[in-house]
Symmetry: C2
Subunit: 276 residues, 2 copies
């Protein structure tokens, strides 16, 4: 157990689980530094009241009286302040590459999932949050939540298939951090745990190769990602005509040492020369 706690203002739904992917990432980041979490409960409305006017958005933390806002601002603060603990960003290149990875992940998965789960998103909120969530998300997404969500069974397989770059990266590594986790893992798991906080139907195959990484990260820090209010995100069935939910023949493609001499490339050579 850590000797010290940091106050974290949470953004929760009616199950008590955190919904915000940024708050999820921040919870892991605080625990990564060996600090305990002192959670201030709450949902979407009343954030300004709860924080005494300090912020409209969460996460926010208070550490020994110092308010720190913004998920990225908190990462910078924690790494600058708790230098004896393992860094969240162990090299400046990790920060730059995480920006690319995060932007890809939102475009490929979180955004499309939001449009496929936006009514679930509203339904799982606290009653007093539902009017705000409905109207604000209808502005953000440009339509009625039920209309946008309709037909998601035809869209979910392609979203799963689009996650192949993440599967490939984690094929031979336990974490995006390598042998131990860093903020890249926490940032990306935030998107999956956001989905798990609201999904009334699963988005990924039962045997998705990402599941090992997902569970490894959720199990960190006493099972921080295993909140009882979460819904299963693995369990999507591939239907006739759906794209493959993930590539089963994982031996093809990507960065790894493949050419160990002519014997290692002869099969491919024979294949591409067959019309010679």
């Amino acid at each position: 157990m850590a000797d010290k706690s940091v106050t974290l203002y949470d953004l929760q739904v009616s199950t008590g689980a955190t919904i915000s992917p940024f708050v999820w990432a921040t919870k892991f980041a605080v625990r990564h530094k060996g600090l305990d979490l002192d959670i201030v409960d709450g949902g979407f409305t009343g954030i300004m009241d709860r924080t005494g006017g300090k912020t409209e958005r969460l996460p926010a933390i208070v550490d020994d009286g110092t308010w720190v806002l913004d998920s990225w601002g908190i990462v910078e603060y924690l790494d600058a302040t708790y230098t004896d603990a393992p860094p969240l960003i162990p090299h400046e290149s990790v920060a730059v590459m995480l920006k690319a990875l995060d932007a890809w992940f939102w475009g490929a998965a979180v955004g499309p999932w939001m449009r496929s789960y936006c009514a679930d998103y509203r339904d799982v909120c606290f009653e007093h949050d539902k009017d705000y969530v409905t109207s604000s998300r209808e502005v953000m997404l440009g339509g009625k939540l039920e209309d946008l969500q309709a037909g998601r069974e035809d869209r979910l397989p392609a979203i799963s298939a689009a996650l192949e770059p993440l599967r490939l990266a984690l094929r031979e590594a336990d974490f995006l951090g390598g042998s131990s986790p860093n903020y890249a893992d926490y940032r990306i798991i935030g998107g999956f745990l956001w989905l798990a906080s609201l999904a009334q139907t699963p988005a990924l195959a039962t045997d998705d190769p990402l599941r090992g990484w997902y569970q490894r990260v959720c199990d960190l820090y006493g099972g921080l990602g295993n909140h009882p209010g979460l819904f299963p995100i693995f369990g999507l069935e591939q239907r006739e005509g759906d794209p493959e939910l993930f590539i089963r023949d994982a031996g093809i493609g990507g960065i790894y040492k493949r050419n160990t001499g002519p014997a290692s490339t002869q099969a491919e050579t024979k294949m591409i020369r067959k019309q010679d």
Copy 2:
């Protein structure tokens, strides 16, 4: 000037420029270690003859009599052997994240560009390579090169637009490596320089924000990426009805510290609450 040279087996086209993205990445990787390049010229055919039966694929290097194959194998060798020079992979997390970034980049750009430039690809090769390149690429791509390439003007704008994660990552950083380049930069620039070795029409806007990074990397090591045989890849014009070639309002989205208190979020709050 470095005191020591490494022999590198090149994969070139008729202009003398390197075509292989993996050889491009390897050239930068060798120079990153303070080593000079002793280039063995050549194209697609005759690799087994040139290398004395050592390999069917390039790159390959010979360092003090030691053969090292495979672009990733060469990275591992160089970092293990030349430990006094800056690492190509400065943290294990960079290797894992580069695998994701590279897989995304191939799916989003290099693959679609290949199908839009496959006849140019063949046309720029040495005469004695053209039969092999035509037949092997028709097997790989599943059609006649001219047929596949046709209509590329309708596809190039969306490929440019898809590079936004890379633009976002490099918005506040000189290199994917941060303040100095590492193998992530070399691996990704390899895809752009592959394109530049063959493109008879540009793929990216003249004012693409990636251009600064592209030129910074090309200028390294005495202008390693500025080969006179390369074709311009910047200069694509956006036509009526095309998607935006890149996002001009770069202030939106991605990882950066945005919430500095209520004043920083009020405009967004007003926007999403307009239907309240």
